[in-house]
Structures are given as structure tokens and as C-alpha cells.
């Protein structure tokens, strides 16, 4: 056992209103620079849709993530040798047009244009070339199903859907959508780390944040294609790759990451998960159908004294263990089992989990009016406007049973709360809902509370980084004190 601590996240998709506030907060802090204008370390996508960069999920093009061949795990794109053979030109790298050409507007013209018959306009100006451009696409051009034939219909996750299911997703009166906010997953088995020829990308041992050492990045740009989530971005100006750093300067001073802090829908949760690093390879190599279940196994119970002792011995701080017990992520992911990883089939063991959306799925217009009561207990889920297969392709590597199980739990919470607050449901119905999902009234109430009424401190349980003991991170103060005195690393020996 090699127990480490990981900062993990949960995004509750039913609560996302698609306002992009997170993206703007992130952009204003981190990517408002030349060469980084096109980057959205945090972005919000509409599903169904093709996302950003366009069709990022299509690994037949970008070859991101890992593939299992026999019992071995290999990078889907290029192994070590072909990385070297292709170092002069990366065959799978997305280019600017796959994202979009960033632009601003010629605002000065509004003030400086000479007097004339017409109102002056602010033309769009490319932030790359500095010349006027015709805007063709942007980072969220598929927002709210805009331009569906080009975007939603090209969604990569529709494989294994029946033609009827597919068609139904685009009928005017059945059409639906949900939002998918995305940041770096700070994976346990990160493909970007593995693909970097210079070894510039690393995971921080203490909190699992994945960072790119800007002094070691040599612009071999292999991480860009290797990351299956396309969350490593190439800065065309300074020749360095950049990515979400989970606002580590904020985390270290006890603040939530900017995207999470600003989240209007309060959909984001952040906390510690303890995991067993010795099992990463084994779990990343398991059968596709077992991936989700197995990944859940890697996270260890912070209430288990044996786990805590092993963690302590491995150097995990006591304060981190405390945070792990209070972690909302632990609750959503392990205790309640209602949050799932995005595209587990990429085998990177991502640490960002999503509570899948129940959606306004139940409404039915066959009677001529907008009918929202469902006839049977799970009728709403079965007649969901988003096919279960589609959801499964996103969150469970195609396993519809698993996604149904999670949605039923979410539904059971609703049924229970409706029983409590409105009181118009038969008691048997609640009982049956609990019986089939294994929830209890207490758990359902806890889920409801953490979903709907959480305070700031419950959504973000940030372990102390012990900045006050920063010296100790660099030198062993007890030793130094008795040897050379503070502030020097030389041994007190005469030569």
C-alpha cells in the first residue's frame, strides 16, 4: 500500500445553469495573455454537442488517453519509439482551427471614427494576426444546441444508440440538453505526464495536482494530443504547454479555485480522497466494463483506522486526514455512489466526478399538454429524453445499468423529499424507491442537504498546505537546528 492524498472534485450537473461564470473567472486570472487567448482551462459544453476543441472526444482522430492491449497499458497515440519518430511533426495534434481563432473588437473605432452618415462599428479583430476576421466559430459555438446540424448531430457519444433513439434526440418537442463544465481531471494515471518527452509534467505528491514545469517544457507538444480531455493547451507565443493548475496558489492559502468559488449554480465540490498508488496500473488495465467499479476501489475509506495509520506512515498530514473525513467528494463518490468519472474508458483514472443530470426528462406531450407526472416509479428515467446509452457513453464506458442505478438513487431522493415536503406521494412509493436503491431516509436527506443547501465550507474542504511550515518542506528543521543552524543546507563538517 502506498497511500496518497488527492484533491478531487464533484460537479453536480443537475445544478449547472450553463452561465460560463467559471470560465470567465478562470480566464481573467490565468489565460488572459498573448498566446493563451484561445485557451479555456475551464469550459462549459452543451451536450449533445461537439465541445471544445471540436470533437475532442473523437479518439480515432486525436488518439488521446490509454489503450489496453493484452494485459499491457500503452498510450493510445504513440509509444516511446514512435513519439521520437514523430517528434518533428505530431500527427495527432489539434491545430488552432480545431479550437477557434481568438478575437477582440476594434473598440477604438467607436470613438475615433471620423464623423459620417453611419454609426461607426467595432469590427472583430483576430488576436493572432491583428487583422479583421470573419468569426466562424468560438469556444462555445454549440451553446444551447446552437447550430445543431453542425454540432449536436456530430456528437461523438452517439455510438451504440439505435437510429430511433438518435433521431428522437433531435425532434423539436423532445429535444433536450444539459451542460458539461470541464476542467483538468488531475488524473491518477495521467496520459499527458506519460507522453511528455522532457518529463516536464508531474503530479504533486502532497495533493495530486498535475502541473507543467515551464522551465522544462521544450515544446515537443506531445501532451496536447495525449490528453484525451484536451486539457493541455499549447501556447503558440512562448512555445510552452499550459494547463489548469487547480488554482494551487489559492488552494495553498485555503481558498477554493476561482472557477469553483464563483460558480453561480454552486455545482462544484472539492475535497480530499485517499488512494492507493500501488494499484493504479492494475486498475487502469482492467476490463472496460469494470473500470468504474474498479476505480471506486482505489479510493480508501478515511474513517478506517488502518487506512489512516498507513496514510500517516506514508507521510500524509493529520490535517489532510481530517479533511478527508469531511470531504464532500468522498460522500458523493464513495459513500453515496452518485458521482461518476467522465469517459472512464480513457483509462486515465480522472479525479473529477459528475453527478449525472436527471434533466426535465419526464415531461411528455403526447396528450397535447405538457404532462410532468410519471405513471410508474422509474417511468421518468425510462422515458428520459436523453437515451441511457448516451449518458452511459459519457460516464460509465457504455454501461447503462450503472447509470440507471445512479439516476434511480437521485430519483429516490426526489421522491423522498416530495413525500416530506409536499406529502402527496403514497408512503409505499417512497419505501419501494428506497428498497430498490438501497438508500435510507437519512442518507436521502443527507444527499438532499449537500445538494441543495450546502454552505461554502461544506462544498470546499481544503486541506491545509502548511505554508507556515514551509521551511520544513525544504529542510528538516529539527536536524538543521542542531547542526548548522537555520537557513543553510551545508553540513557542519570541516573539509
Amino acid at each position: 500500500m502506498d497511500i496518497r492524498s488527492q484533491i478531487a472534485m464533484v460537479f453536480h450537473l443537475d445544478k449547472c445553469i450553463g452561465c460560463h461564470t467559471c470560465s470567465i473567472a478562470c480566464k481573467n486570472i490565468w489565460t488572459d495573455r498573448k498566446g493563451a487567448e484561445y485557451m479555456w482551462w475551464n469550459n462549459v459544453e452543451t451536450k449533445p454537442g461537439t465541445g471544445y476543441p471540436n470533437k475532442w472526444e473523437d479518439q480515432s482522430v486525436y488518439k488521446g488517453g490509454w489503450a489496453k492491449s493484452d494485459d499491457e497499458l500503452r498510450l493510445k497515440g504513440m509509444d516511446r519509439k514512435s513519439t521520437m519518430a514523430n517528434i518533428f511533426h505530431n500527427p495527432y495534434m489539434p491545430v488552432m482551427d480545431d479550437y477557434y481563432e481568438p478575437w477582440t473588437y476594434d473598440y477604438a473605432n467607436l470613438f475615433e471614427a471620423p464623423a459620417g452618415d453611419d454609426q461607426p462599428t467595432a469590427r472583430p479583430i483576430s488576436l493572432v494576426t491583428g487583422e479583421p476576421i470573419d468569426i466562424k466559430t468560438g469556444p462555445n459555438w454549440d451553446d444551447d444546441l446552437g447550430g445543431s446540424p453542425d454540432y449536436a448531430r456530430q456528437d461523438v457519444n452517439m455510438h451504440d444508440l439505435t437510429p430511433a433513439e438518435k433521431e428522437a434526440m433531435f425532434q423539436l418537442e423532445r429535444m433536450t440538453m444539459f451542460y458539461l463544465p470541464r476542467i483538468c481531471n488531475h488524473c491518477l494515471n495521467a496520459a499527458c505526464v506519460a507522453a511528455c518527452p522532457s518529463g516536464a509534467i508531474y503530479k504533486r505528491g502532497e495533493d495530486g495536482i498535475v502541473l507543467i514545469n515551464q522551465n522544462k517544457c521544450r515544446s515537443w507538444r506531445m501532451c496536447v494530443s495525449a490528453c484525451p480531455y484536451k486539457k493541455s493547451y499549447y501556447n503558440w507565443n512562448n512555445g510552452k504547454s499550459e494547463k489548469c493548475l487547480l488554482c494551487y496558489p489559492r488552494l495553498e492559502s485555503g481558498q477554493a479555485p476561482a472557477c469553483m468559488h464563483t460558480c453561480v449554480g454552486r455545482i462544484r465540490y472539492l475535497g480530499v480522497l485517499l488512494y492507493d498508488a500501488d494499484r493504479i496500473k492494475e486498475i487502469a488495465t482492467c476490463e472496460e466494463k469494470d473500470l468504474v467499479a474498479k476505480q471506486m476501489e482505489i479510493y480508501l475509506d478515511p474513517f478506517d483506522e488502518n487506512v489512516r495509520q498507513a496514510a500517516r506512515e506514508n507521510g500524509v498530514a493529520e490535517s489532510t486526514l481530517d479533511s478527508a473525513r469531511k470531504s464532500p467528494v468522498w460522500k458523493f463518490v464513495k459513500e453515496w455512489g452518485i458521482a461518476l468519472p467522465l469517459h472512464p474508458e480513457y483509462r486515465t483514472l480522472p479525479n473529477l466526478f459528475y453527478v449525472p443530470p436527471l434533466l426535465p426528462a419526464i415531461a411528455d406531450t403526447s396528450t397535447g399538454s405538457y404532462e410532468t407526472t410519471s405513471a410508474s416509479l422509474w417511468g421518468g428515467i425510462e422515458s428520459s429524453r436523453v437515451p441511457m446509452q448516451y449518458m452511459a457513453n459519457l460516464f460509465t464506458a457504455g454501461d447503462t445499468e450503472k447509470i440507471r442505478e445512479v439516476l434511480k438513487k437521485l430519483m429516490a431522493v426526489r421522491i423522498h423529499r416530495r413525500g416530506v415536503t409536499v406529502g402527496d406521494l403514497h408512503e409505499d412509493e417512497c419505501k419501494q424507491a428506497f428498497a430498490e436503491t438501497g438508500l435510507t431516509a437519512d442518507v436521502a436527506d443527507a444527499i438532499f442537504r449537500l445538494t441543495s443547501l450546502p454552505k461554502f465550507g461544506e462544498r470546499f474542504v481544503i486541506p491545509a498546505a502548511h505554508r507556515e511550515e514551509a521551511t520544513e518542506l525544504l529542510e528538516n528543521t529539527a536536524d538543521i537546528k542542531g547542526n548548522t543552524g537555520f537557513g543553510t543546507l551545508n553540513t557542519p563538517q570541516r573539509i
Binding site: R80, T83, M84, F88, H89, N90, P91, M93, V95, M96, E101, V128, T129, G130, E131, N189, A190, V193, A194, C196, P197, S198, G199, I201, Y202, K203, R204, G205, E206, Q214, N215, K216, C217, R218, S219, W220, R221, V224, Y234, W236, N238, G239, K240, A277, I280, N314, G315, V316, A317, E318, H466, E469, E472, L473, L474, N476, T477, A478, D479, G482
Partner: protein
């Protein structure tokens, strides 16, 4: 006089600048050491240009290196005219590949507006040097046959004499101007290394062949750190 400048002063200056400069840049400004990839802005032409140029220059680099280090073997190889032709043809093909690659890359830079923004004065200098080197190299190959034969008797002694700190221009000074230009541009290129993207081939990531896939860095090495409880049993440091 110009020989002394081009074939002695310039080489020594370039080598010293390269050695001191690249160690200095690597040590103090590692941030600047990158290949400055432009594939993100334009990928298709880079495929052709980049591949032709790189495979060409890499092969030529090793070709020149072998000719310098093992002149006797090259002469022996050339003993058979068929083998001489094969060697010369191969060298010329790589030379043409290099030349074509550089030309594609130059046109690529000229044609693409986005690339203008990512092109610095140093990039222009880089392409001027590379183009000069490609043109003079091919010119020499076509007009002064056979390079692989006279390299051993003319250039090897000259380069060796440079390294032995005892420059000997006897053989090279009799060479035509074009060859002198080729030599001095090569040293110019070497001298430019610390100031340009040329740094990128000095940091070729060989380590990637054997490093473990996952990299984890701790602020403090838990495994190596001494256990403070050994000194003060009742006090355990709280971090980590």
C-alpha cells in the same frame, strides 16, 4: 586575412559562444530552451517541410561527423567506385531533402499570416543560415566531386587542427570560396545556438526512452527524510 577571420577567428568564437552560452542559457534561463513549435498554427506544410528538413539535416550531421571521425574508413569504403556513388548519392539526396524542407518552411512562414506573428528576427536569421548552408552544400556536391573523397584530406586535418589549438589552414585556404562559405556558415550556425531555437537539439529528450511514465514530485522526500522522532521521540513534525 579573410581566411584567418572566417576559418580561425569565427570558428573559435562560435565554439566558445556555443559552449559557454548554451550552458549559461540552460542553467539560468531554461525557460528559453524550447523548439518553439508552430504546428499549432499550421500543421500540413510543417509535416512536409519539417520532415524533409529535419531528416535531411540529422543525416547530414552524422554524415559529416563520421567523415571527420573515421576518415580512413570512408576512404576505404570509397575504394570501390560503386560504393562511392552510393555514398555520394545518399548524401546528395539528404542534402536535397534538407534544401527542399527549408524552402517549404520558408514559404510556409511567408504564406501564413498567423505565422508572421510567431516569427521573430532570430527565426529569419535561422532560415537565412540554413538556406545558405543548403545551397552551398548542394553546390559543392555537384561541382567539386567527390566531397567524400577529399573531405578526409582537406577538412579532417583542418577541423582536427582547430581542436588541437593549432589551426592549420594549409589545405583549406586553397579551397574555392564556396567551400569557405560553407564552413564559416556552419560555424555561424553553431555560434547562434544559445540565442535561437537551435538550443532545441541540444536538449533532445533521450531520457524519455527509459524514464517511468508517471512522474510524482514531493516537496519533501518522505522516504529519504530523517525521522525527527529519533532525536526527540515525543515530537513528530506535523507537515506530511
Amino acid at each position: 586575412m579573410s581566411d584567418i577571420f572566417l576559418l580561425i577567428a569565427l570558428p573559435y568564437t562560435a565554439l566558445i559562444v556555443m559552449l559557454v552560452g548554451s550552458v549559461y542559457v540552460y542553467g539560468t534561463q531554461a525557460y528559453k530552451v524550447t523548439s518553439l513549435s508552430t504546428q499549432f498554427l499550421e500543421s500540413r506544410d510543417l509535416f512536409f517541410g519539417g520532415l524533409f528538413m529535419h531528416w535531411g539535416i540529422v543525416a547530414l550531421f552524422f554524415g559529416h561527423l563520421i567523415a571527420f571521425l573515421f576518415p580512413a574508413s570512408v576512404i576505404a569504403w570509397n575504394g570501390n567506385p560503386v560504393r562511392l556513388i552510393i555514398l555520394e548519392a545518399a548524401a546528395l539526396i539528404f542534402g536535397i531533402s534538407f534544401f527542399v524542407g527549408v524552402v517549404i518552411l520558408i514559404f510556409r512562414r511567408l504564406r501564413n499570416k498567423r505565422l508572421h506573428r510567431a516569427t521573430t528576427d532570430m527565426d529569419i536569421a535561422v532560415f537565412v543560415v540554413l538556406l545558405t548552408q543548403a545551397v552551398t552544400g548542394i553546390w559543392i556536391a555537384l561541382t567539386y566531386r567527390w566531397g567524400s573523397a577529399w573531405f578526409a584530406s582537406v577538412l579532417t586535418p583542418y577541423i582536427r587542427s582547430l581542436f588541437l589549438m593549432n589551426p592549420d589552414l594549409a589545405a583549406v585556404s586553397a579551397m574555392p570560396l564556396i567551400i569557405k562559405i560553407h564552413i564559416s556558415t556552419a560555424f555561424l550556425l553553431i555560434g547562434m545556438i544559445p540565442f535561437s531555437r537551435f538550443m532545441h537539439f541540444l536538449v533532445f529528450p533521450v531520457k524519455y526512452f527509459w524514464r517511468p511514465f508517471q512522474v510524482v514530485i514531493w516537496n519533501r522526500d518522505r522516504k529519504l527524510m530523517r525521522n525527527s522522532t529519533a532525536v526527540t521521540p515525543e515530537v513528530k513534525s506535523r507537515n506530511n
